[in-house]
Subunit: 323 residues, 2 copies
Amino acid sequence: MKALLFDKELKFVDNYPTPKPGPDEALIKVRLAGICNTDLEITRGYRDFKGVLGHEFVGEVKECKQEDLIGKRVVGETNCSCAQCQYCQQGLRSHCLNRSVLGIRNRDGAFGEYLTLPIENLHPIPDEISDEEAVFVEPLAASCRILEQIQIRESDEVVVLGDGKLGLLVAQVISLNGCCLKVVGRYESKLEILKKRGIETFLVAGANDIKANIVIDCTGTTSGFEMATRMIKPMGKIVLKSTVAAKYHIDLSPLVVDEITLIGSRCGPFASAIRLLRNREVEVRSLISTAYPLEEGFTAFEEASAKGALKVLLSIGAPFNSI
Amino acid sequence: MKALLFDKELKFVDNYPTPKPGPDEALIKVRLAGICNTDLEITRGYRDFKGVLGHEFVGEVKECKQEDLIGKRVVGETNCSCAQCQYCQQGLRSHCLNRSVLGIRNRDGAFGEYLTLPIENLHPIPDEISDEEAVFVEPLAASCRILEQIQIRESDEVVVLGDGKLGLLVAQVISLNGCCLKVVGRYESKLEILKKRGIETFLVAGANDIKANIVIDCTGTTSGFEMATRMIKPMGKIVLKSTVAAKYHIDLSPLVVDEITLIGSRCGPFASAIRLLRNREVEVRSLISTAYPLEEGFTAFEEASAKGALKVLLSIGAPFNSI
């Protein structure tokens, strides 16, 4: 099959073996996939991964022992767990000690014609949600994760830092909570997407005096984290949403003096994300930049890496008719 | 009066003006004071403080509008708050935006013959608690703070990192909770203090395989924090107890992937600390190294700065008869 591989460098191949599903797995024909910052970080050396990249996708089930799923459009949770370890036993499957992760750790990902995932990882996509919307379920679920980790009250002053793909999703999810929300970004054009939804936005240069008791760092940069530590009020919470290959050179003593809580946040509830999309509570189509065929994956990665890039998609198994 | 000042360098003076209490303040004659790592960090440039150092003390009230306090032995909370700002209004006096802090920020401290503090900051010391024990109330309260911030269950695996003064206090407080506690330190002799109380201890070299879901970093070193990030299990909590002038060079991505929570922790409840001492639930006398008169403050600081030092005291206003 065709696939976009990473093995020290990114390469397109057309003779990659089609994966074979295990007894509790499904074979899925990928329709559309999204390039995430984690994919870009992997190509810069993060996580030491080799294989087919990609973990944001929508596809069609082709083989599966659960017959009612065959032919269905699905998205899939990326963490494949062992069901045995202490984390699986506690229901924390995304922290399974023996997990493989689609396109990130020990498992080929979604930038190929086919992928396999455990049946339990799959979520059928209702007809009201298009392919281009469904491909956002994974990052939207990651945005919803924040609300599983911290309580956001109406009286909270919340800042979302970053107007990248994840920042724009997180901002929309948090705005549904009715708190006082400010979003700080670098690109007027991207902040405009949020302004249209009534969300207050600021360019970095105009954000120096903003203080908040919850700051959600979606910048994926060390300077973004530093800004978060300057903005946060005593007893406040900083949520870290982005993984960066670079090391941070930081003074932790203000975190102690001001008793700040720092919360790492990763994968989230797919069901919530699907519900938000179906109910039109979050708008994702304006976050799409371009779609490329898999053969042009290298160009797609270049575009996704450019400063200010929005979501770049890879159209794989389905005719791409709506962008 | 005699005082130990810091103004770019540490110096003993015998002609420092005796402080005058404000209308809601008490004048306190210091009996005994303790040298804390924060004092040492200040002499290395942390916080940019100038004035009389010291914030761990026990003294006798000499002047005060609340007459029943006069002649009483007291300890004092170090944060002097404005009662006006949003934090004071929320009852978070130790985070007052306009606060002065005894011997740390805009207020002369305890390494002098007299100090002043707001009356509301004072806690009388019962007769059952000696001066040498009372001087530990402030750091013991800081240890108790952890239990106000996180819940520690019997089923939790907790590691206290560091066998310095604060680590030895924190370990004793946490051990009262009945959880599975391990303490990791550098000095067999100091760990022995905890072993005698039935607490399991490890030298750093033998601690490589320890994993825990709660790690309390009392090392005051960047390498200690790195060890904490290696030990912590997914979804675990790292409590940061120490302030260090140095910057940390760290990779925050494991905190995101494993969804770790980092919690800064500072000052705590004096009433709890006094109760623990009076009930003999915590033992502090074995943590004392030496006591020096104020005139020998420089030697005292040298001893307190030495590797593996225990608590060095400054005997100021009272005959020193029990060490």
